[in-house]
């Protein structure tokens, strides 16, 4: 069975370590990958694509050495493989302009401001992964334990495929 990945991108290794630790409960369902730059993130995405797997969600910092997070998200929006990937900005420093850009051109799914709380991150990841399933049409059954029942129920009730 193909795997659905979560990718975390931040240029500060300590921050990356903390995020991954907080996403531990997802790891046995959705392998978590990490990258410390936009370039590395692209390499990881290529590997995921090559092995026939999927990328469900990216949690991305904005201010990074080299290419910034919003530009990475925009380029992902323009690629078929990552079009459905849920795009979450996790940042303390994105200005209004960059955020507007992310919303308009990368269809930003969610914005988490630093410093974040563990509960908030888990809640957002749960909801967003659920939206990914509804949108991409993957079978939700094996993941029922980890997805967000409220979002699922609402989607079934509305008869809609996700929030967009």
């Amino acid at each position: 069975m193909s795997k659905i990945y979560i990718l975390c991108v931040d240029d500060e290794p300590d921050v990356l370590e903390v995020i991954v630790r907080e996403l531990e409960i997802f790891e046995d369902y959705f392998p978590v990958e990490t990258a410390s730059s936009a370039d590395e993130a692209r390499a990881v995405i290529r590997d995921i694509e090559k092995s026939g797997d999927h990328l469900g969600l990216i949690l991305c910092d904005h201010v990074m050495i080299g290419e910034n997070g919003v530009d990475l998200l925009i380029s992902m929006q323009n690629s078929d493989f990552t079009l459905d990937t849920r795009k979450v900005l996790l940042t303390g420093q994105a200005g209004l302009e960059a955020t507007v850009d992310a919303v308009n051109r990368a269809s930003l799914s969610h914005y988490i401001a630093k410093p974040w709380s563990k509960d908030e991150v888990i809640k957002v990841v749960k909801e967003q992964m659920t939206h990914f399933f509804l949108r991409s049409g993957h079978d939700t059954l094996p993941y029922a334990m980890i997805l967000d029942p409220m979002t699922l129920a609402k989607a079934l009730h509305d008869g809609l495929g996700g929030d967009r």
Binding site: P13, D28, T34, I65
Partner: protein, 474 residues
């Protein structure tokens, strides 16, 4: 006094000529502006002033007339209303000649007509002379005014510059106090935390080791120690390790693989037995998790320790950086100034290919706060001029008679026509992207350099970058 003889002659013959003499008291009006006048007055004694209204309707003295002068000459001659008001500025005696008397005497009396002609000429000559002088005076006044206006303009510019400098200085002083205050407030708890973590790191492992041990377990003790000595792994290395461990131990869940991937090559053998046992019973998995936890606790302790050290270092730099100058020179190692400023500006510099070259240098007598200010200006300018990822090089080295701090960038460079002006106030090249400064940074920096008997110079090439050299004498 002109026309004296003529006037004397007239006076001598007043009675014979049947001319009336009028006396005006000081302040009384003789002629009124815009009113008809049909007589000619010749001043015998005293003084009259002529008034006209200016644009604001205020009366202005336009001429002062004395003995021998005519009053009402223009209106009498042209038969137009009086051109100005005349008022006796002191008690005044004058002959009044109305038109009839004038015509009669002018035709019949040779002495009168001769005196009149001569007085006319005198009056007109004198008025013309005054006009010429007045024009010269106006010209001089205009020039004086122009000079004064330029002086004023310069003064206003100077004032504005001084004001901006003061505002800037005040801001810096306030910021310095604020920084020192914050730094102090952070420093205390951070230092306390650091002490606690240091104690924890030395004492906590002992709980699992030697005489003090509550749970004797050499391996767990080792795992803890290894965790505390571990190095942060970059994401690519961790990915590789996870792949390796997944292949080696396919029975482990990915969350365990991730946790295990943090453990270094010395730690894995210590865990090996638990790893192999972990494919059987749930409690064996718990055992493995607990044992990995020892290593992780080591990592956390190390992480806290490193972060705290970073905070303490930053706070120390902030304190040095923001410290207000004591008012007298201090003998300092300039490399500390560079170090403090670079630490404070790390947030900007980390986006560049930044290098620091600082061989030992002799100490220099200076105001460290001001040196920091210059360095801040130069480094911020270098960042502003350079694309992210570009090279910025800072060097501090001994040169002839002093120490030079070099801030070099490979940024936009300075246009040739601006390079001589770059140290003047209000000159800035940062006029694009809405990110412009006051254009004071370099002006203030050069002033600071001069105050230290030092030099601040630049070499730059458009498109290649700029090299600023801040030199302070030993």
């Amino acid at each position: 006094m002109f026309g004296d003889n003529d006037v004397n002659e007239l006076i001598a013959r007043i009675e014979e000529l049947e001319l009336p003499v009028f006396t005006f008291r000081k302040g009384s009006q003789i002629l009124e502006i815009d009113q008809p006048n049909d007589a000619l007055y010749i001043i015998l004694n005293g003084e009259a002033q002529l008034y006209r209204k200016n644009e604001d309707d205020d009366l202005v003295v336009v001429d002062t007339l004395k003995r021998g002068s005519f009053l009402g000459l223009i209106s009498f001659w042209t038969k137009q209303p009086s051109f100005s008001s005349s008022v006796a500025s002191e008690d005044l005696d004058c002959i009044r000649v109305d038109r009839r008397a004038f015509d009669r005497l002018f035709e019949q009396d040779r002495v009168f007509s001769k005196a009149m002609q001569s007085l006319f000429i005198d009056n007109l000559t004198s008025r013309y002379r005054r006009l010429v002088n007045l024009n010269l005076k106006v010209d001089k006044l205009t020039r004086d005014l122009e000079i004064e206006r330029n002086d004023l303009r310069q003064a206003i510019e100077d004032l504005e510059r001084t004001r901006l400098k003061l505002v800037n200085k005040e801001k810096l002083a306030t910021m310095g106090q604020l920084l020192a205050g914050i730094a102090h407030e952070i420093n205390n708890p951070a230092s306390a935390l650091l002490k606690s973590v240091e104690s924890l790191m030395s004492q906590f492992p002992e709980l699992f080791h030697g005489k003090e041990s509550i749970v004797e377990s050499q391996d767990n003790y080792e795992l803890l120690r290894l965790g505390m000595e571990s190095h942060l792994m970059d994401s690519a290395t961790q990915r590789e390790r996870m792949r390796f461990l997944e292949n080696a131990y396919p029975h482990l869940k990915r969350s365990l693989i991730r946790r295990l991937s943090q453990v270094d090559d010395l730690g894995i053998p210590l865990l090996e037995s638990s790893i192999i046992a972990a494919n059987k019973k749930a409690e064996n998995i718990d055992t493995l998790t607990s044992r990995i936890r020892f290593y992780e606790i080591g990592i956390y302790l190390r992480g806290i320790n490193l972060s705290l050290e970073r905070i303490v270092r930053l706070v120390k730099s902030l304190k040095n950086y923001g410290r207000p100058d004591s008012g007298s020179r201090e003998t300092v190692d300039l490399r500390n100034c560079v170090h403090d400023t670079v630490t404070v500006l790390n947030n900007r510099l980390k986006h560049y290919d930044f290098s620091l070259e600082m061989p030992p240098t002799p100490e220099v007598s200076c105001y460290p706060g001001e040196v920091n200010q210059v360095l801040t200006n130069l480094i911020v300018n270098a960042c502003d001029a350079t694309e992210e990822g570009g090279a910025i090089r800072i060097a501090c080295k001994q040169v002839k008679g002093g120490v030079s701090i070099i801030v070099a960038d490979e940024g936009a460079g300075i246009p040739e026509h601006l390079i001589d002006k770059i140290f003047e106030a209000n000159v800035t090249t940062k006029n694009s992207g809405g990110n412009f400064g006051l254009g004071l940074g370099l002006a203030i920096s050069r002033e600071i350099a001069q105050k230290h008997d030092g030099k601040l110079s630049v070499k730059s090439k458009l498109g290649k970058g700029s090299v600023f050299d801040f030199w302070l004498p030993l």
